[in-house]
Amino acid sequence: MTEFTPWASLTGGALIGLSAVLLMAWEGRIAGISGIAGRLLPPWTDEATPSRLGFVIGLVAAPLAWFVATGSPVVQTVSSNLPLMAAAGLLVGFGSTWGNGCTSGHGVCGLARLSPRSVMATAVFMAAAVLTVLVVRHLM
């Protein structure tokens, strides 16, 4: 059970959108995390590697910054089934890169651009995830 948090979620979503808009304004790139993280790995095909490294460091530092600013730690429940998490990590990494985007690149930036490819991608990963949770939580 998790608490429904409409206002906090709307606010957090707006901050994510603001980051995406400012990244486009600054260097004209889509704020897609799978693309940013995946292109940190070789082969490096352009000169934006330092930018991507900065963005990922900022992402990773966010919970610490939040804790320093507010005094409250980030509460989360992560599965401790390590083989499952390893398999899930491989699937998420491979699938999001093969599909040219994840929840941010397709689900936020792509939908905001009204891209048919992103609409398709978002519908497919949402459906696949809902189906997976249905099977794992209710049918197994």
Partner: protein, 143 residues
């Protein structure tokens, strides 16, 4: 300079994930679980993010170029192909198993849960494998 600007924007994005509750995989899994303990929060996160991005992009993309680059790098691929069906299906399967997509997984790294410490390296291996496969099979790979 771009490094520092991107660091600030990554921080803003990560704070957004924390504030929205999306750094907690349990909240994501509960959104995906319509027939159980449904938590609609994720729809509000995406709604807020898409509306701000839609309006912001309209302003930004009217400009001739971004501040620190010669041109806007927008995806050039058009039309539906297998890339945006098979890839998202595989991604969604892993997302439903773990409750992690790439952003929240990276943001969770420093919190140090064992599941995260296993997930993130595996995710990077998966990304690398996909990039190599794309290069090997010469699949169109627009930026």
């Amino acid at each position: 300079m771009s490094f520092l600007v991107n660091l600030a924007l990554g921080l803003l994005f990560g704070i957004g994930l924390v504030v929205s509750g999306m750094a907690d995989p349990a909240k994501v899994l509960n959104f995906l679980d319509f027939s159980g303990t449904w938590d609609p929060s994720l729809a509000f996160v995406m709604g807020g993010a898409v509306v701000v991005t839609f309006l912001g992009y309209r302003l930004v993309l009217k400009r001739p170029a971004p501040v620190a680059a010669e041109r806007f790098h927008l995806p050039t691929a058009r039309g539906i192909d297998e890339r945006v069906v098979i890839g998202p299906a595989i991604f969604g399967f892993g997302w439903g198993l773990s409750g992690f997509c790439p952003g929240p997984a990276l943001t969770s790294l420093g919190i140090g849960a064992p599941g995260t410490l296993v997930f993130v390296p595996a995710m990077l291996v998966g990304m690398w494998a996909a990039r190599l496969a794309v290069a090997r099979f010469r699949v169109a790979y627009p930026d």
